[in-house]
Amino acid sequence: MSSGTLWTVVVVGSLGCYLLKLAGLSVPAAWVERPWVTRMVTFVPAALLAALVAVQALTSGRELVVDGRLAGLAVAAVALALRAPFVLVLVLAGATGALVHVIGG
């Protein structure tokens, strides 16, 4: 993707996110405070983040790939279950990924 395209994505995405914020301050509350809207807003992040975890850890282009990223993710999950702080989770995942890279070549 060219730098110009990336800039467009950055600016358009930013503008859209800003307008969503502004809409909340500007529209009548009744438009937004419907049960189905609040349910969507509560659960969409879980679906989206989980999809991103899976895609970032297991795919490369259109292929499913198992490599150090999955090992790092497993270590991160254990660390999160043990309530490790955010930085430690990332450091452990990164160290695992690097280790698999060094061992596996």
Binding site: K21, V37, A47, R69, A76, V89, L92
Partner: protein
């Protein structure tokens, strides 16, 4: 009394600002891994200024997704802020269009939590402004640190970074699934469904589209039914 309350509000605001700094470094690094240059990462933090959307946008780009899919996923996560705005509008009551335009930029998870938790409207405004300012400054500074740091990495460190990005997404997801979150059992089903649909679609659709498609599929599966609504 009021002085103590103000101090407590300011302490919380600055504390949250420092805490999000760590995520700022992770975002800067993730942006670099996705192919953005440090200035693009910084402009995202300056203009978009909503962490989950920023992570989603670079996550989709990093997976090779199109600009439209990346923007779509950022907007999907950005809808949260619309609901926050509705909650904040009566509390902050920004007077005049200019104040409203300025206030809107800082409507995010953390500032909403700070403002809603404040004991009265005056302190809610203080919490919103102090929290917004401290988070804005730290988030942008640490984004640049993360992006410049990641850009200087060698091959093994790059492999480490590749493993850090999915772990960062998992860390963002985790609090939503844990006991004590809002309906954690539903959130877990939703998360598993989203991940499964995304992986299943990966071989068949352009990169990035599977992420947005997974969210739409899960949302449709959980749409309100007439019987249940009655």
């Amino acid at each position: 009394m009021s002085g103590t309350a103000r101090t407590a509000v300011l302490r919380d605001a600055v504390g949250l600002g420092v805490a999000v700094g760590l995520y700022g470094v992770a975002f800067g690094a993730a942006a670099d891994a996705a192919g953005l240059d440090p200035w693009q990462a910084l402009v995202m933090s300056l203009l978009m200024f909503t962490g989950a959307s920023q992570f989603a946008l670079v996550g989709v780009l990093g997976a090779g997704g199109s600009g439209a899919a990346a923007i779509g996923s950022a907007l999907l996560l950005g809808t949260r802020n619309t609901v926050y705005g509705v909650r904040l509008a009566p509390l902050l009551a920004p007077r005049g269009p200019l104040r409203r335009l300025g206030t809107a930029h800082w409507v995010i998870d953390e500032t909403t939590a700070l403002a809603v938790a404040a004991p009265d409207r005056g302190l809610a405004r203080l919490a919103f402004l102090a929290g917004g300012a401290s988070i804005y400054v730290v988030w942008n500074a640490t984004t640049l640190v993360g992006a410049l740091g990641a850009a200087a990495l060698g091959e093994t460190a790059q492999a480490a970074l590749d493993a850090v990005v999915p772990a960062a997404f998992l860390a963002l997801l985790w609090p939503r699934l844990r006991a004590g979150a809002e309906e954690p059992a539903v959130a877990r089903r939703v998360a598993l469904g989203g991940a499964a649909v995304a992986l299943a679609l990966t071989p068949f659709v352009p990169a990035g589209v599977q992420v947005v498609a997974a969210v739409v599929a899960v949302a449709l599966a959980g749409r309100p039914r007439r019987e249940a609504a009655a």
